[in-house]
Every structure is written in C-alpha cells, then in structure tokens.
C-alpha cells in the first residue's frame, strides 16, 4: 500500500469538501447547533462541563453524517470517475482509506469549534479535565465509526440520496437497537445492548475510559472500511 496514493486521494476529496457549498453548509449547521447548546449549558445553566455539548453533538452528527459521506463513492460512480479509479493502478484499499481520511479530516475541522468552547470554559470556569479528555476520545471514535459506516453506505449505490438514506438507516439502527434490548431478556438482550451505540458512548461522556468501548468503535471502523473494500472489489470483478 502506498501512502502517497492514499494521501493524494484524501487531498482530492478534502479539497472537494471545501470547494462545494455543501461542506460549508454542513459546517455552519454543526457550528450553529452545537453553539446554541454550548450557550444553553455554559451561558444559561452556568455549567462548566463539556459533556452535554458532546452528548448533543454526537446526536446531531447522526443526521449530518449521511450528508457528509453520501457523495464519497456515489459521486464517483455517477460522474464516471469510478471507472478511472477501478482501472488505475491504485488498490481498492488505497481508494477507500484515502476517502476515509478525507472525511475524517473534514470531521476534524468540525471538531475544532469545540476547542473554542473549551477555551471559554477554562477561562470562566474550572471544568474537570478528565471527562473533557474522555469526551474527546469518545466523540472522535464515535464520529470515525459514523464516517466508516457512511462510506460503506456510499458504496452501495450511485444515487447519493439512496446512499444517504442507507447511511441514516444504519446509524439510526445502531442507536435504537439498545431500546430493543430493553424489551428482551437473556443473551439476546445483552447482544442487542452491546451493539447499541449509546451503551458505548455513555462511559466516555461520564469520564470513564473502557477498553471494551474502544474495541467496539475500532471494530465498527474496521468493519465499515473492510466491507467498503469488498463491495467495491465485487463491483470491479
């Protein structure tokens, strides 16, 4: 695997995000909504805690992720550039990793706004920095898992709307599956609750790092990338 090729694809896709209005609209919506929550938490409730900001931000990203990831592969298919990529001497893994890095970099730009909030909190309050750190770790892992599944959804169809709907369905299912677990008993309940996104984010937001949750999110990321590669390979063949 050549990292030069991976970074070239990542650069191309990242540039695309910032050369289309869509990227800015998504960023503005994210900044506006998280900003409003930050104002309610820090300004109105006077709480020096980043936890509620991240709890709301990760739910917000559930709705924004399909919009960010839907074009990753679907657009290549639609514009015909997918054929070029398929026949070029770039492996499928390099293509997938490049696109994934691009979307993660875009996520990093989104996350940067929370640093402004943190600076304000440190200036005017005394937040517990342990939970702040775990919130960042949990949020980054959760968003990376979102993007990985969004990328997978994008490989299913050349229609961006269909890709977005599939991504939305996948992510929503992972959020609500825990509720189904509440209605079940025994090992099925445990399995459903384990699969639930929510059960793996709450510890991070409370200030606890647990290796189980890290393994869960890394598994989702790896699974999303692996199946994206396999779907594209099956299309190539």
């Amino acid at each position: 695997m050549s990292w030069r090729k991976v970074s070239a694809i990542a650069k191309k896709d990242l540039t695309h995000y910032f050369s289309s209005p869509m990227g800015y609209v998504v960023l503005a919506v994210f900044f506006l909504v998280t900003g409003f929550f930050f104002y309610l938490i820090a300004g109105k409730a006077r709480m020096a805690s980043m936890t509620p900001v991240f709890q709301n931000a990760i739910i917000l990203l559930l709705f924004l992720t399909p919009m960010i990831t839907m074009r990753l592969w679907s657009e290549e298919e639609k514009s015909g550039t997918a054929e070029l990529l398929k026949t070029s001497p770039i492996s499928t893994w390099e293509v997938v990793l490049g696109k994934y890095l691009a979307v993660c970099a875009f996520g990093g730009v989104m996350l940067s706004v929370t640093l402004v909030y943190l600076l304000i909190m440190v200036e005017y309050g005394n937040p517990d920095m342990g939970p702040v750190l775990t919130c960042y770790i949990g949020f980054i892992l959760g968003v990376m898992a979102y993007f990985s599944l969004g990328l997978l959804a994008s490989t299913f169809s050349e229609n961006q709307i269909i890709s977005a709907v599939i991504a939305y369905g996948l992510l929503l299912m992972l959020w609500v599956i825990g509720a189904a677990g509440n209605n079940a008993n025994g090992p099925i309940a445990k399995l459903l609750k384990y699969l639930s996104f929510f059960s793996h984010t709450s510890d991070f937001f409370n200030g606890v790092i647990n290796s189980t949750h890290i393994v869960y999110f890394v598994s989702l990321i790896v699974a999303g990338l692996f199946f994206s590669v396999k779907v594209l390979e099956s299309k190539r063949s």
Binding site: F18, S20, P21, G23, Y24, V25, L27, A28, V29, F31, L32, T34, G35, F38, Y39, A42, G43, R46, M47, A48, S49, V116, Y117, I120, M121, Y124, G125, P127, D128, G130, P131, L133, T134, A180, N183, A184, N185, I188, A189, L192, Y194, D203, N206, G207, V208, I209, N210, S211, T212, V215, Y216, S219, V222, A223, F226, F227, K230, E233, S234, S237
Partner: protein, 537 residues
C-alpha cells in the same frame, strides 16, 4: 399442464420468494422489538421459512445452474471471507467485553469502587447472581436508578464471580413473584441458596440539608453490605424478654414491633422471646438480650441472671420508657454507671411536629449512628427520658453518649405541667443525653467483653414509628454494634462537586453572539466567498 403453467407463473414473478423474505423479515423484526414468543411472530417465521423452501423447490434447476457460474463462486468466496471477518470481530469484541480495562478520569473518582467494596468482591467464595427488578416506566426511573444499574455493572466488571441480570418486572412478573419482589427497582443478591434483598429506599436516601430533602445515592454502601451479608451467613439469635408488658415483637398493631422483627430476620438474625423467670441461665446461643419497654418491674432473680450474663461477656439492649420505675435495674445501672432521669425530654428546636416531646436527637460520634449522621438521616425518639452517665462500679467501663437533645432541649421533670418551658432548678438542662452505649472488658480476662446500650425510651421501635427515616436503621445498627456484627459497611455516598461558570452578563452575551452567530456566519461567509470565486472562474 395447468399445474406446470402455475409453477411457471410463480417462477416468473418470484412471488413466493418475495413474500417469504418479507414475512421472515417481519417475524425477525417483531422478535427483536418485542421478544415475546407470540403466535403471530411464530406464524410469520413459519410462513417465511415455508415460502423460501417452496421458492427453492420450484427453482431448483435454476438454483443449481446459478451455483455453477463463476460469478456465483466469486460471491460465495466473498461471503465466506465476510463471515470469517465478522467471526474474528465478534471474537475480539467478546474477549474485550469479558476482560475490560477501565480508567475513571473524574476528579472525584465517581465511577471507581471503594476499597471496602473491592475487598468484599475479592473475598467472594462462589458465584453471586444479582437480579435488578426494574421497569421501563419513566415514572419509576429516577436518575439514581440508572446510577444503581451502572454501579452494579461496575461490580460485575470488578469480579468474574458476579453475574448481573436486569429484569423488566412488567415483562417478567412471574420472576418477580418467585423472588418475592413487590417494589420496582429492587435488587436481589443470591448465592449458595441465600438471598439478600435491597430495596430502592435502601439506596435512594434523602438528605435534609437546609430543610429541603435532596435525593442521595448510597448504592455502594447498600450493595456491598448485602454482598458481605450474603457471604457471612452465620446466624445470630436475639432474645426479646417477655412477661413485663414489653412491646410485642409479633404484633402488627401500631404499638407492636413487627416491622423491626422483620428487619432483623431480613438481616439473618433469629428472633426469639425469653421469659427470664423460667430460666436458670441465659441460653448459650444468645447473641444479645433485648428489653424493649417493660412496664412492670423485673424480679431480683431476673436481674441477677442478667448481671451474671453480662459479667461473662453478655450483650444487652435496655430501653426504659419514662414514668416506669428503674429501681429493679439499679444493680446493672450501677455496674455500668448509668442514671435514668425521671423526666421526659423536650426540644422545641428539633422535634417531629406537633409534639415537642417527639425529639429528633443529635448524633454524636459513634459506630451506631455514624452512618445515619453521614447520610443526614433523622431519627425520631418520642417520649424518651434522659440517660446520664455517672461513675461505673465495674472498672474499665467505657461510656459513649451517642444521642442527645440540642442545647435548647431539657428534661421536663413534670411532663404533665401545662406549659412546656424550661424551668431552671427543676428541669434537666440541655443538651440531654437520651442513649448511651457501654463497653466493658473484664480486668481478669481480656477475652470477656460485654456491650450494653441504654435507651431512654422504646416507642421509636414500634410499628407506628418504623416509617420515620432513621428509626429502624438506628435500631438495627444498635443490634449490629452490640452483637459485634460488622456487616453494615459504611461507604460515604459519592457526590459530584458542582463546577460552575463565573460569568458576568457581558461575558454571557459574548458567548451567545460568538457561538450562536459569529462562528456559523463566518463559515457561511467564507463558503459563499469560495463559491463566488469558483463561479467566476
């Protein structure tokens, strides 16, 4: 011929395949969402499976041909790789879930088990099943219930001998019935045929700070105590004296002590009654003798029996109500240096409305009341007399006053007097002690240690006052202390220190405009500029 054309039609439209898959999917969804083996999801599954079998049968030739194609083999290969990959992921997650590594980064270590709990968990001899009987009804799910579940999960993670089951009572009423659970959010600890039950009221307590009750989560103390008791099932027998008009431990009437007896039994104590007149000596298995509010005097022989018992390291709890003569107990009181006052304690600053004789005593430092004191849990002692300490006849007696009125209270020597005010020179000035614990170690043999607790009343033990926040706990702690039962583990409830922003109105406005307006608009403006430039190109 007709039959063949029908099959052809089915093949052409793949109707059966479609219906089969749909119905199978529906059955699966219902099973996941409801997870009750009801007739309709069984029918859905059966119809679905039947549909798929029919589809395969009528398309058998086509299926066989498809199986031989190159693309099919490639897809099968892909499917196998995918299954293998998923299996590896499942295995990794299973191992990670079984052996978690946790780090609590909160400043107050809110999610870390105390050393006492870890010690108890380490000493567990066998598997312990913890069943949490909850509900999905939001009215019965205060935040402390979620805390309790989280805490129990931490117990499970800390010890591989703990198995936690979260049971929805509404879905599993039979299981609740089997465990004798009648209230939501009850936790049952079970090991080796023994059970310990912790109800919501045991871990969701209320602190009366500044007069306003605030909920307080003391789950760790309650759960660890239950685990400890589960492991230490040695039975102790408490004998309640009878024959002198004592409070009836079997009676469910307001002045009976049925509730206290049940609590004692729940805590693995065996409760028996004893008529000292008929005994030549106190039974060997007596962990303690409990004298709860006698109205008639004890005989000399009974007092002698008790005195000898105490000399040999016996344990006694003596509750003598006001207006009852104490002369018969004089030998024991003299031995331990106790003087019961002929009065009724009143306290106009701490009492249960409307009677100032129902005092809410202050807790002094003692193992009996420390837990109540830490938890800000009040006890109500109605109609109680003063219990003062004087020089003990037995050398080596250590007396500790653990309950007393405030400095504004007094011991009213003529309680029938119409005005309830302190009369200097007549009444006993506050703070008035109302309960004293005594330790005695024999100077001749250090192994002989007796413990006696003297209360100035017995009404606090009755059913009508068992609902008072701390009364039964006070009684239970007294029995535990006297019988050297160290199972009530005191773990201070953890509370998160509130971290607040110190903002002026100006700073609040800056935050508002910066986070809600300036940052999003900046992004939009930059995006618009990029779009305009690109359009110009």
């Amino acid at each position: 011929m007709k039959k063949n054309s029908f099959l052809l039609q089915l093949r052409q439209y793949n109707v059966v395949w479609l219906i089969g898959s749909l119905v199978l999917m529906l059955g699966g969804i219902f099973l996941i969402l409801i997870f009750n083996q009801t007739w309709w999801n069984t029918i859905c599954f059966s119809l679905g499976v039947l549909g798929l079998i029919i589809f395969l049968m009528i398309n058998l030739t086509q299926v066989k041909e498809t199986g031989k194609q190159r693309t099919t083999l490639a897809r099968a290969n892909l499917t196998l790789v995918a299954i293998a990959f998923l299996a590896i992921l499942c295995a990794v997650n299973y191992i990670a879930a079984r052996h978690p590594i946790r780090a609590d980064l909160t400043a107050d270590k809110l999610y870390t088990l105390s050393n006492e709990t870890l010690r108890v968990l380490k000493k567990l001899k066998g598997p312990v099943i913890i069943s949490f009987f909850g509900t999905s009804n939001p009215n019965h799910n205060p935040p402390q219930v979620a805390q309790a579940k989280q805490l129990l999960r931490e117990y499970q993670e800390a010890s591989n001998k703990i198995h936690l089951d979260i049971i929805n009572v509404d879905k599993n009423p039979s299981m609740a019935q089997e465990y004798g659970v009648t209230q939501y959010n009850t936790v049952v600890f079970e090991s080796g045929g023994h059970r310990q039950t912790v109800q919501e009221a045991n871990y969701l307590t209320y602190a009366f700070d500044g007069g306003r009750p605030t909920p307080q989560f003391s789950g760790e103390s309650a759960f660890t105590t239950a685990l400890f008791k589960l492991e230490n099932t040695k039975v102790k027998t408490i004998y309640f004296t009878i024959g002198h008009g004592e409070e009836d431990i079997m009676s469910p009437e307001p002045n009976g002590m049925n509730a206290f007896r049940q609590d004692l039994q729940n805590e693995n104590y065996v409760v028996k009654t004893i008529n000292l007149l008929t005994q030549s000596k106190i039974p060997q298995n007596a962990a303690a003798i409990f004298i709860a509010g006698p109205r008639k005097p004890f005989q000399f022989s009974e007092i002698q029996l008790l005195q000898n018992y105490l000399k040999q390291g016996g344990k006694l709890i003596l509750c003598l109500a006001p207006l009852v003569p104490t002369a018969d107990f004089e030998p024991i009181l003299r031995d331990f240096g106790i003087k019961y006052g002929n009065n009724v304690v009143e306290d106009p600053t701490r009492f249960a409305y409307p009677d100032i004789r129902s005092i809410i005593p202050q807790y002094e430092y003692s193992k009996i009341v420390n837990k109540l004191s830490n938890g800000n849990i009040f006890s109500i002692l109605p109609f109680t007399r003063s219990v003062q300490t004087v020089k003990a006849a037995w050398p080596g007696v250590v007396q500790t006053v653990f309950l007393e009125s405030t400095i504004h209270g007094w011991g009213d020597s003529t309680p029938t007097h119409p005005t309830a005010t302190f009369r200097p020179g007549i009444d006993l000035k506050g703070p008035v002690p109302v309960a004293v614990s005594c330790n005695w170690t024999s100077p001749k043999n250090a192994k002989i240690k007796s413990r006696v607790v003297f209360y100035g009343g017995s009404d606090f033990l009755t059913n009508q006052l068992s609902q008072a926040p701390g009364n039964l706990n006070l009684a239970m702690n007294t029995v535990d202390w006297v019988t050297l039962n160290q199972s009530n583990i005191s773990i201070r409830p953890k509370t998160e220190q509130p971290r607040m922003m110190m903002l002026s109105n100006h700073a609040e406005n800056v935050i508002y405009y910066l986070s809600v307006w300036i940052l999003p608009l900046l992004v939009l403006a930059f995006g618009g500029w990029v779009w305009y430039k690109r359009r110009a190109i």
